[in-house]
Point group: C2
Chain length 320, copies 2
């Protein structure tokens, strides 16, 4: 049996896992990202922990895959920059790590890694043409075409969050206007909800859930309120889902995928979100691709980063 | 040398050509589509003309490629339906023609065929990730990923004309709202221009070009006015280009293509159209993919259908 190390780097946590060739997680370690004040310390911690895994496991580890929250050039093994982790500018991470740990290393951005995980081991297993969307602070996306990750001309493909929904919509921090993320990124969901609650057109118990301190509102609390049957929370989620559905109608018309996978924290809102997204896509997209596409929730949740990183390593090695 | 027959079926004309393996057109015949009152007559004319080409040429013809204006299943050789040519419902055209003419036949929709032509022999030669857009009565698109035509799960990928630009924009005849085609399809360009002229905020000589009969206005006349320096025509084209640019900003963010090819009658407006599209994409799309993408005019014009159909046949045979 062959084994792989998967690394999932996020702005909050770094997860390191040992996986077998079926991508079962055998061991797992979690580090708290803000512990590392600079990139050298973070790289040192990676080297140390990967080396420990390597030494202490009796099995033959073939390679390391790493998912990173930022812009990555997988061909060069180069990290251009990371989002919410400072000090990373044009770091040849692949080369640095390979020389230190003596194993082949493969990099990609976190959404591509999550997409790989869902397509090889998750809800989209076996599907050939898939679009993944992750809903969180940012809105990201990954694209699989004919069974292969599609990265684009400069490895930045998949930015679903920056498809414009309104030509003269609100300014997005990408410089565009009316981008999907500007409506359904975490902070915009919360800001929209606070605004709605203050205007109070509907009775709501949302303020009770944050002890009347709306600065503590999160999408998770809005989900909780929705599950409890709060009408305003329901309306808020339907509105979020409608934006996502309209954006996906465009994606469905353009790419005619067989499956769309939706993951990330916001996707936890569950049934109300998915039902409205599906309804909107059916209403807005062309008949044939709208009837064909399956819209499903990501399956692998918090382990998708580790699994996808191991898949990246395994498939990277097979390509070599 | 190997030879191919290319067929380009449109609602106005049917073109049939004999091409060599470098896709040079050696012979060409043009039929007027409305001559054929039903699909049987049209098929009969195809059989007759292809057979004539076959008999009269001394060279060895390897196969026939056909581009059709509608929804086609290239794997089954099945035409689901055609736009603006009635009577075509679920016609197994490949099988019918192969049994009559004794040559392998390959089908695809006209925009995919045009895309193939530009990527193999036109302005996008050698490019691996390309999006083509055709501007005319409808707005269509073709996608090439890693050098191969991408058709989607049910062969309907590429419908750029039905990407929504405004969530509550005007109703499109596809059932969606605010689709690109609803702003830049021929009849909407003309309707918008007539409206603008009637309100007359700018001096214009457009009415003179149609003897004051605005029902005769076409995008071609608007292009002509623009080339003559008419300020209103210029503003109209800039507005059209802005819609296209905003849509393409989303496509650039999603697909990060190396090249976007723009063809079709409307693209003849030329420099003013392309300049504004480029400017809008740079303003609205993410920096890296916006800087990377080349936006170019289709090169092959009226022969792209014949050339692409021959490419389709040649590549279809190589795959067999």
């Amino acid at each position: 049996m062959k084994y792989y190390i998967g690394v999932d780097i996020g702005a909050t946590n770094i997860k390191i896992g040992l996986l077998d060739a079926n991508f079962k997680i055998l061991r797992k370690k979690k580090l708290y990202t803000p512990t590392f004040s600079n990139k050298e310390d973070l790289i040192e911690a990676l080297v140390e922990n990967i080396t420990l895994f390597k030494k202490s496991s009796k099995c033959k580890i073939k390679g390391v895959g790493i998912g990173l929250p930022g812009l990555v050039n997988p061909e060069k093994g180069l990290v251009y920059r990371l989002v919410n982790i400072s000090g990373w500018n044009n770091v040849y991470l692949k080369k640095i790590l390979e020389s230190r740990i003596g194993l082949p290393v493969f990099l990609d951005n976190d959404v591509n890694v999550m997409t790989l995980a869902e397509v090889r081991c998750g809800c989209a297993r076996g599907a050939k043409n898939v679009v993944c969307i992750t809903l969180g602070t940012g809105v990201g996306g990954g694209i699989v075409i004919e069974g292969k990750l599609y990265r684009g001309a400069t490895f930045s493909a998949g930015e679903i969050g920056h498809i414009p929904l309104n030509e003269e919509g609100p300014l997005c921090n990408c410089g565009g206007k009316g981008c999907l993320e500007r409506y359904v990124g975490n902070k915009y969901i919360v800001a929209g909800a606070v605004d709605k609650i203050k205007k109070a057109p509907l009775p709501t118990k949302i303020p009770d859930l944050v002890n009347n301190d709306l600065t503590k509102l999160t999408p998770e609390i809005l989900s909780k309120a929705c599950r409890k049957g709060d009408l305003m929370a329901k309306e808020i989620w339907q509105n979020i889902a409608r934006h996502i559905g309209i954006c996906l109608a465009g994606v469905v018309n353009l790419l005619n995928p067989e499956m769309i996978v939706i993951g990330g924290g916001v996707a936890e809102a569950g049934e109300i979100l998915f039902k409205t997204i599906e309804k909107t896509v059916k209403e807005r997209a062309l008949d044939l691709p709208a009837r064909t596409v399956k819209i499903v929730a990501a399956k692998l949740k918090e382990n998708s980063g580790l699994i996808g990183a191991a898949v990246l390593a395994k498939e990277g090695l097979n390509l070599d």
